[in-house]
């Protein structure tokens, strides 16, 4: 109801104030978006290097040797280099892409506008959260350039491998320290963002914008922020404990009696490697919901808008989002079924994990229900939303195998798990971001993206990601272990090298296709057709202001909301949509 106190009365002047150290949530959202875009290009390149090496482990590639004279001497990637690329791939993708773009990118830009606010509650904190994230990325990337290179313990950094220091492997010296420091800085940035989002949503909704009239995107940004607030605090604590074990001789995670590389480790005792896993996954599971919830919100928004139909079961969708958020804190043990965890607690975690499948199923049914009886417009944004539903089903159902400890006895640490989480995070979530991009680009930049190029991008990517990630489930059934630099030492894997080869080719092709997206994005920034205020005839508040919006969003006017977010195709109304801010009384169904 009240205006934020720290927002500016006048538009900022000067390049630095406007585009660098901006307090404007819209600029900050775009900064996050491009940070995420830069990060995904790095993350994707790392994965291509990995996929190349897996199928060509002994082939010398000239420029590998130039880039990494020690770690790829003679142009052949060493296993430690492979593992460090893998570690950084996971870390950069999960933190700097999946945790930034959907929430801090789109959320920052559109949350205030969708609830009728002029800016976030704390614009200075907002600016600090971006630059802190930027600093975290710089520190993370610097791990590549230090002695020993980037760490090799995976994005999960299990001790003792990650805790005992350089002695456990190359990259486990300074590289691992920088990784921990980067993550800790990132935690700080996330906490700043989470506080801002929650305060904004609680306090700055305009008149008439009750919680149950908010677009579903806002609900997902709210719950994601709560998950971030509680989860990142624990990760920060875990990181502090880990770096203490590594540098000052504490023993949170290190037991006595270790012998590494023929050297008996003294000076540590009483620690538990399992403690790290508990702390990490207590954060790690909410983290994956942080990665997917905003994408679900975008999917609901797009499916409704482009079917010209209200979201099917809005209230159920809200309860599903809240349940996923709440239950998300209770299932972390399913990442630890094989860890030596108490087997009775495994059953408790398994039951809760099956429960969390229920709200996800509700959302899927309701997306299908939204389409049913609709009038579907196949814009590129809509195609990505439809693709999201297909991919979410495929990725989600493999969770029904993994959530059972009895079946995880085989599938843990196989490619079945890799296929599962890539489908959900690496694809469905990414499709949410693509959909959001094609949908909101006109509003953010005042120009339309090219629909033809967009559609080619969609179809090629959709088929491509299925080709890359579905075979991983078959590999899991064969028993293909994870995190192997190459497969030449396991006889039973000789029969699946053709599958790996297929996946690698699919990866190169799908990556190449993304050039279309990049071209479309950057070309349209300058040369796209000028966009109108509401090119999609969408009902939510951002479509009632100019494209791009003025610095204070509503040009000094305080919007008033009269109805829910998805009033499409009302009987008796000529237009097939009614804006949330439209005061005209309309007889509607309950």
């Amino acid at each position: 109801m009240s205006s934020p106190h720290a927002h500016q009365a006048h538009a900022p002047q000067g390049f630095i104030r406007k585009y660098v150290f901006s307090l404007d949530h819209k600029v900050i959202g775009i900064q996050y978006y491009f940070l995420g875009l830069f990060s995904v290009l790095i993350g994707m390149s790392l994965s291509l290097l990995m996929r190349y090496h897996m199928v060509n482990p002994n082939v010398s590639v000239g420029w590998f040797g130039k880039l990494w004279p020690t770690a790829a001497a003679g142009g052949i990637m060493t296993p430690e280099l492979y593992l460090s690329l893998m570690t950084m791939h996971g870390t950069i993708m999960v933190f700097f892409v999946l945790t930034t773009v959907p929430q801090s990118g789109f959320g920052n830009y559109f949350l205030p506008i969708q609830i009728g606010a002029e800016d976030m509650a704390f614009p200075v904190l907002n600016m600090m959260s971006f630059w802190t994230t930027f600093l975290a990325l710089v520190v993370m990337v610097s791990a590549f350039f230090v002695q020993g290179g980037a760490p090799l313990a995976g994005w999960t950094a299990y001790p003792p491998l990650s805790a005992a220091g350089r002695i456990t492997g190359p990259g486990e010296g300074m590289g691992q320290n920088l990784w921990i420091i980067s993550i800790a800085i990132f935690c700080g940035a996330s906490l700043m963002g989470a506080i801002n989002f929650i305060a904004t949503l609680v306090d700055l909704r305009c008149k008439g914008m009750t919680l149950m009239r908010m677009p579903l995107t806002c609900w997902t940004w709210l719950v994601t922020a709560i998950l971030g607030l509680l989860g990142f605090a624990v990760l920060l604590a875990a990181g502090v404990l880990l770096i203490l074990d590594r540098t000052v001789g504490t023993s949170f995670f290190l037991p006595a009696g270790l012998m590494i590389n023929d050297k008996i480790i003294t000076g540590h005792s009483g620690g538990s490697p399992l403690l790290w896993q508990h702390l990490f996954w207590f954060f790690g599971h909410p983290e994956v919901y942080i990665a997917i919830l905003p994408g679900m919100g975008v999917a609901s928004q797009l499916l409704s808008t482009f079917s010209r139909k209200p979201v099917y079961g809005y209230k159920a969708m809200v309860y599903a989002i809240l349940s996923i958020g709440f239950l998300g804190f209770l299932v972390w043990g399913h990442h630890m079924f094989m860890s030596g965890l108490n087997p009775y607690s495994a059953m408790a975690f398994a039951t809760l994990t099956m429960c969390i499948g229920v709200p996800s199923a509700i959302k899927t049914f309701n997306w299908l229900g939204t389409l049913w009886g609709g009038k579907i417009h196949f814009t590129t944004a809509m195609l990505f939303a439809l693709g999201f539903v297909s991919l979410f089903v495929t990725g989600g159902v493999s969770g029904i195998f993994l959530g059972q400890p009895a079946l995880d006895l085989y599938f843990h640490d196989t490619y079945f798990v890799v296929g599962h989480f890539h489908m959900i995070m690496g694809v469905a979530a990414i499709f949410g971001m693509f959909g959001g991009t094609y949908f909101w680009f006109p509003k953010m930049f005042g120009r339309m993206m090219n629909e033809t190029i967009g559609k080619i991008h969609f179809y090629a990517t959709f088929i491509g990601v299925y080709a890359i990630f579905t075979p991983m489930h078959m590999l899991g059934i064969v028993g293909n272990p994870r995190r192997y630099a190459d497969f030449t030492n396991v006889e039973y894997l000789s029969g699946v090298m053709n599958v790996h080869q297929f996946m690698s080719y699919a990866a190169y092709l799908t990556a190449a296709v993304q050039v279309l997206f990049l071209f479309n994005l950057f070309w349209s920034l300058k040369k796209g057709k000028p966009a109108t205020e509401n090119p999609w005839n969408c009902t939510t508040l951002e479509w009632g202001i100019p494209s791009p919006p003025p610095f204070d969003n509503f040009a000094g006017v305080h919007p008033v909301v009269y109805r829910g977010a998805y009033e499409y195709s009302l009987p008796g109304v000529k237009e097939d949509y009614v804006m949330q801010t439209d005061p005209t009384p309309v007889r509607t169904e309950a």
Binding site: L83, Y158, G169, A346, F365, L407, D413, Y492, P571
Partner: protein, 262 residues
């Protein structure tokens, strides 16, 4: 719309590979393994039906409700349908996990039978070693300071302890078919994982913990089965592999005697 046939084609192709079992599990060699496969198949049927139906319905909706001029149906949903499919899903998912409990219990709630053959497993960067107690049935005392891989003493067996003199150390696991086995898993350095596909089980090996894992094999499952480390343990993780050789009980006795002679 083009998207519908693509979704349907993908769904059909995926179901095909699961039905044709083009890339599949190796045959199980234990009762537990057979029970595992039954639970997997149950889950596969449920998941397969959900997956296929969802993709078909999605494709159907794309075709049937594409923009053809008519107006969309204004509806906020149907609470009865919501309750129906929510309860059905919950029932289905919870039943599946409960059905699997017996399998999980057999591995982790139940103790190894008293006549199980105890075998110590030592995992380290990047090799496996196994120790048998020998005819006296007692594992000899070990000391970390006595560990000497090069001299063939990876366990650090104390030669002052008479119980250790008949201990058998081997780089690969050898067991008799049809008898219960109890592995006692140790790690010297970082987390590793013992995995045998045909047994349908694996277990993380955590330094500082002594973790038991028991199983038995069916008689007649003689063969050599691979044991690839299944938890990231460093740069040699992909090379950390050994074998589990299942022998006839007679051959196993002969092997033990041969080892004792050494």
């Amino acid at each position: 719309m083009l998207l519908a046939p693509i979704i349907w084609a993908l769904a059909v192709a995926i179901v095909y590979f699961f039905v044709a079992k083009t890339w599949w599990f190796p045959p199980p060699i234990s009762q537990h393994g057979m029970a595992y496969d039954a639970q997997f198949n149950r889950t596969l049927v449920v998941v397969g039906v959900i997956f296929f139906l969802a993709q078909v319905v999605l494709g159907y909706a794309i075709v049937k409700f594409r923009n053809d001029g008519r107006r969309a149906t204004y509806s906020h949903g149907n609470n009865k349908m919501e309750s129906l499919w929510t309860s059905a899903t919950a029932l289905l998912f919870l039943s599946l996990v409960l059905m699997g409990t017996k399998i999980w219990a057999g591995v982790h709630f139940d103790e190894a039978p008293p006549d199980a053959i105890p075998i110590e497993v030592l995992s380290k960067q990047f090799a496996w070693n196994f120790r048998y107690p020998g005819p006296d049935g007692i594992f000899g005392h070990t000391d970390l300071h006595l560990v000497n891989d090069a001299a063939g003493n990876p366990f650090g067996i104390d030669d002052k302890d008479p119980a250790g003199k008949d201990d058998i150390v081997s780089a690969s696991l050898k067991i008799p078919a049809g008898k219960p086995i109890k592995l006692i898993l140790h790690s010297r350095d970082v987390i590793h994982n013992f995995f045998v596909r045909e047994l349908r089980m694996k277990q993380d090996i955590v330094p500082g913990m002594e973790i038991p894992l028991h199983f038995d094999t069916e008689p007649g499952t003689v063969g050599i089965y691979e044991v690839p480390c299944s938890e990231l343990c460093g740069l040699g993780h992909f090379q950390m592999r050994t074998t589990m050789q299942v022998m006839s009980p007679a051959d196993f006795e002969k092997w033990k005697q041969d080892q004792a002679q050494k």
